[in-house]
Symmetry: C2
C-alpha cells in the first residue's frame, strides 16, 4: 500500500509538506499483544495501518477494560499522537490485537504540517469525528442495549473478523470487551447455550445459531 494513499488530500499539500511527511515516516512491525500507546504520557506518532489490527480501549481504576474501537488496514490511528492537540484530555490504550505492520509519522512533524495546511487539518478533523462517532455509538450500546444484545452482536462480529464460527476466546476477554464482569458474561453465555445458540467448551465459544443471535443483536 502506497504511503500517500492514506491521505486523500495528498495533492493539496505542497511538495515541501509532502516531503516532510513521507521523509519522516518509518515502518514498524510489532507482534500481537504489543501495547503501542499507553495514555497521554506517550506521544509516539500517527500510525497508518498496513496489515494487522489495533484495539483502542480504556482501563478503569480497578483494571476493567472496555474496547472503544478497532483499527484495520488503511485506518489512521490519531490518539497515539494525542499530544498534537492539547484539548485531548483522556487516556486511551492502544494494543496490537494481531501481528501488525504500520507506517509511523512522528507527532511533531505531523503537527507542524497540520498547523500550516488547511487540507491536512480538515482531514484530521474528519478522522477525529469518525472516532467520536464510534464512541457515541458505544455509549448508546452501553446505556440502552442490554447485555444479551451486546454479547450476541460481539460474538457475530468476532466470528466475522476471524472468519470462523468457533471462537478461541475466554469469558474474561469477552467481559473486558463489553466493560462487564466475567461472571455476568459466563451466566449469559450459559443462557445462550441452554437456548442452543452457542456451544461452550474450554476456551472456545462456538456459534451454533447465527441467525437467532443476529435477531437478538438487532432486537
Amino acid at each position: 500500500m502506497d504511503f500517500q494513499s492514506y491521505f486523500p488530500m495528498w495533492n493539496q499539500l505542497t511538495r515541501e509538506q509532502q516531503a516532510q511527511l513521507s521523509g519522516s515516516a518509518f515502518q514498524r512491525s510489532v507482534p500481537k499483544g504489543t501495547v503501542l500507546h499507553n495514555g497521554s504520557a506517550d506521544c509516539t506518532g500517527l500510525f497508518l495501518l498496513v496489515t494487522g489490527q489495533l484495539r483502542a480501549y480504556m482501563l478503569s481504576p480497578e483494571g476493567r477494560e472496555i474496547t472503544l474501537y478497532r483499527l484495520f488496514p488503511m485506518d489512521i490511528c490519531l490518539f497515539s499522537a494525542s499530544c498534537i492537540m492539547r484539548s485531548i484530555q483522556f487516556e486511551v490504550i492502544i494494543e496490537a490485537e494481531k501481528d501488525t505492520s504500520m507506517w509511523v509519522i512522528p507527532s511533531e512533524v505531523y503537527k507542524q504540517v497540520m498547523t500550516q495546511s488547511a487540507p491536512l487539518a480538515n482531514y484530521t478533523n474528519e478522522i477525529m469525528a469518525s472516532r467520536f462517532s464510534e464512541v457515541m455509538w458505544l455509549i448508546e450500546q452501553i446505556l440502552w442495549k442490554s447485555l444479551d444484545k451486546r454479547l450476541a452482536g460481539f460474538l457475530l462480529e468476532e466470528a466475522a473478523l476471524e472468519d470462523t464460527p468457533s471462537l478461541k476466546i475466554t469469558h474474561e476477554h469477552i467481559a473486558n470487551h463489553l466493560g462487564s464482569a466475567r461472571e455476568v458474561v459466563t451466566r449469559m453465555l450459559r443462557y445462550f447455550q441452554s437456548e442452543n445458540l452457542v456451544h461452550l467448551t474450554r476456551g472456545t465459544v462456538e456459534i451454533v445459531d447465527s441467525g437467532r443471535l443476529s435477531q437478538i443483536a438487532q432486537e
Copy 2:
C-alpha cells in the same frame, strides 16, 4: 462580549475571512426550553454563547435521555453545525436550559472559511477534542462510577450552577440527566435523605450536607 474574542486565532485569518465570518453572523435569543438542534437533519450553524446555558443530550429509542455536556457563555457549539463534517455520524439534541442569547454563524460560511484557513480548522479541531474529552469522561462515569457517586456529583453541580442548595427539580429530570430510571433515582434520593444528606419535598431536593455529598462524589 466581542464577536472576535470567541476566536483566539482571529488575527491569523485574512481580512476577507474575518469579514465572511462577522458579516454573516447574526444574533439570536431563545427562551428556556427551546430545542435548537435535533439530530443530523438540522444544520443551523455554529452557536457562540453570549448569555444563558445549553444542554447537549442523546435520546434512546424509548425516549430516555442522557446529558452529554453543557455549554456556557463564551463556549462554541459545534454540533449544531454537524453538517460541516461528514464523519459526524451521531445524533445530538441541543436545548436551551436557560433563556439564552447567542451569535449564529451559518454552517456553509463557517465551512468555507475552515476549508481555506488552517488556523480555523485547527481551532475547530481543538473544540471537537474538548467535547470528545467530556464524552469520554461521561463513559467513565457511566461504566465505573456507581449511581450514588454520580447522583451526589450531579446535585452538587446543579447547586453550584443555580447558586442555591434548594433545587427545584423532579426525580424524572435527574434520571434523564443520569441516563437512569426515575424509580432508581427516587430510591437513591430516599437513601440520601435517610442519611441526612438531602431533604426531599414535593418538587424540591434540598442539599443538607454538601460536605458528605462531596465525599461520596469523590470516593
